[in-house]
């Protein structure tokens, strides 16, 4: 069953057609990779899923509900979480707090004044956060301030912040960009180990990562999906090779 249906989405910035009649269907429980050369419109497409951009035409249906025209926090509340290309974390807060905040969003909803309890008290939310921190291997550092983390750890923290919400759909925008080989392998490991039941969309340049994670690959070039299928099929597809080797605009 498709959990996300993207139909005929167009988005133009001035004269530039960033997305041109994009169709995409993401099956529940799979890892769907979106690859393509720089400027193909991958991030633009992702931004259309989380409410950062609104497509000019077309529809985005998640779990039977349109995502267009509703605010980012409402989209998150329907079960979509996103990891950004540059980690978006709460740098002034401790790691535990960083993970407790999304857990509160899951438990308490978009707005609730909870002013008489204390954060330090043990409870459901804290247990959720500590469990995820153990899974991603940041539990020992839980009381340090997030800004002092290494880049790799910041990404793992952001991953934990998304995983603690147990989303139905997790969007990962280049989760290994700028990482060392070892860190990249750790991230792939983590994604294969934790939250395996979560449907994921991964934008990635590193083909090693794509082929070790993806169940399905869509290739985006110049705002259009030029190919889609199982990893083995994509590997041998002449159109894909053309797009990557720069023959696309011939």
């Amino acid at each position: 069953m498709a959990i996300l249906e993207v139909n005929d989405v167009n988005k133009a910035f001035g004269g530039l057609k960033a997305l041109n009649a994009v169709n995409l269907s993401v099956e529940e429980g799979t890892v769907h990779a979106i690859i393509g050369p720089n400027g193909a419109g991958k991030s633009t497409l992702l931004n259309c899923f989380v409410g950062r951009l609104i497509p000019d035409t077309g529809s985005v249906i998640f779990d039977g509900q349109s995502l267009l025209g509703i605010k980012p926090h409402q989209i998150n509340q329907t079960g979509v979480a996103r990891v950004f290309q540059t980690p978006e974390i709460f740098t002034d807060l401790s790691i535990l707090e960083n993970v407790m905040i999304p857990a509160f969003a899951k438990v308490d909803g978009a707005f609730r004044i909870n002013a008489w309890k204390t954060v330090g008290t043990r409870g459901e939310v804290r247990d959720m956060a500590e469990k995820v921190l153990e899974e991603v291997g940041l539990h020992e550092k839980r009381d340090t301030i997030a800004s002092s983390l290494s880049r790799g750890d910041k990404r793992r923290l952001e991953m934990a912040m998304c995983l603690v919400q147990d989303p139905k759909l997790l969007l990962l925008d280049e989760p290994t960009a700028g990482m060392s080989r070892a860190d990249t392998n750790n991230t792939v490991d983590l994604l294969q180990r934790v939250g395996t039941h979560i449907t994921k969309i991964v934008i990635e340049h590193d083909m090693h990562v794509v082929f070790s994670l993806a169940d399905h690959i869509s290739v985006l070039a110049q705002g259009t999906v030029i190919a889609g299928g199982k990893p083995e099929d994509i590997k041998g597809n002449p159109k894909v090779q053309e797009a990557y080797l720069g023959g696309a605009h011939a």
Partner: protein, 381 residues
């Protein structure tokens, strides 16, 4: 029940704060600030700064118009004195409620923007309130003269129980006159309550959300939070704190004037908070106390008084000192405040609390160094 969930450190902090606040007359004695009028100001502006810090220090929204809520609180309280009773409890409650409602309105509009645009919007609203209080709203504010008590006020509840007297009545707490030390202790108890509420907010999930909004609002939105109602709640709470401070100003001196809402008054609470340490619990109160204390000392000086205090020096030195120091006292006190403020922002961005933390860290390191040397010496022996 009241302290449920608070850590041992927080309980100690609150206990220490309560003792220090109640013992303020004693603590202020060595510096000659132990008279009720000034002590009342410490407590009142402390409350103002605590509330401002909830919006600025925690949530990261810099309001340049908080004096408007101070003024509204004062007007509301004086109207309660005029219309209903000289008892201070209804006046304080009314002042807090009215400024809370006023804050809800201004916050609702101003919070559509953030950063500098938010600051400018709040500044514009406050200046608007100030000008309205002087002009169109004269029936409510009594314009330039300011709102005062008068002989023919209604005071419906008081009239039911007591005969009208010849002089103007004074504010009271069930008969206890609110001037001098009783007035200070009334403000002081409210300061302690205000501090306690701020402590609970800061340690609560709600407070954590406010700090998260300050750190990364984008992440908050993509994490499923509707950030605007959070910021609006913080704005209303800090507006109510300002209203409480404003009504206490009226309690200790039952008149209200528009100048209380001027932008300089809004700027002052920004200075207090940053000087003490924005985002800390104690810092803003410390900043408020210091600014009010030094304002009290320096603004009363003039060249004549200066010359007198340096009179033991030879004439030419005396003249030179008066020439150099003169511009910074009296009317020029804000010049001195400005220089100190610049120095703090440049060298101690975390305010006096950062300074204290640095000194503490330095002592601890020195202590450890001593201990280390002792161990090394023992090992050598």
């Amino acid at each position: 029940m009241m302290f449920a969930g608070l850590s041992r450190n927080d309980k100690l902090l609150f206990a220490g704060f309560t003792i220090a606040a109640l013992a303020m007359p004693l603590l202020a004695w060595p510096v000659g600030a132990n008279y009720p009028d000034l002590l009342q100001k410490f407590a009142i502006y402390g409350i103002f700064a605590i509330g401002f810090n909830i919006l600025f220090g925690l949530t990261g929204y810099l309001s340049f118009g908080h004096a408007a809520f101070l003024g509204v609180g004062s007007y509301a309280a004086v109207w309660m004195f005029k219309g209903v009773t000289m008892n201070v409890i209804p006046a304080v409650i009314f002042g807090v409620l009215v400024s809370g409602m006023f804050a809800a309105l201004i916050g609702f509009i101003s919070l559509r923007r953030s950063g500098i645009y938010f600051s400018i919007l709040t500044l514009a609203f406050a200046q608007m309130s100030y000008n309205l209080a002087y002009s169109v709203l004269t029936p409510i504010t009594n314009g330039e003269t300011g709102l005062q008590l008068s002989q023919d006020d209604a005071r419906v509840i008081d009239r039911m129980f007591t005969e009208q007297t010849a002089g103007l009545p004074s504010t009271n707490l069930f008969g206890l006159e609110m001037s001098g030390y009783p007035g200070f202790y009334f403000c002081c108890v409210l300061l302690i309550i205000a501090f306690f509420i701020a402590l609970r907010i800061q340690r609560s999930p709600f407070g954590m959300m406010l700090r998260a909004i300050k750190t990364n609002q984008v992440r908050m939105n993509y994490t499923g939070f509707n950030t605007r109602p959070y910021a609006l709640t913080a704005f209303i709470i800090s507006g109510m704190y300002a209203g409480l401070a404003g009504s206490l100003l009226a309690v200790t001196d039952p008149l209200a004037g528009a100048e209380r809402m001027q932008w300089t008054a809004s700027g002052e609470v920004v200075l207090m908070t940053i000087l003490g340490g924005a985002g800390t619990l104690i810092g803003p109160i410390l900043g408020a106390g210091l600014i009010k204390y030094f304002e009290n000392i320096f603004s009363s000086y003039n060249d004549g008084l200066l010359a007198e205090s340096f009179s033991f020096l030879p004439d030419f030195l005396n003249d030179a000192l008066v020439f150099v120091i003169g511009p910074f006292v009296g009317e020029g006190w804000s010049l001195l405040l400005g220089i100190v403020f610049m120095a703090i922002v440049i060298f101690l961005p975390g305010g006096l609390m950062e300074g204290l933390a640095r000194i503490h860290g330095w002592y601890r390191r020195r202590g450890q160094g001593d201990a280390g040397r002792k161990v090394a010496k023992q090992a050598a022996e």
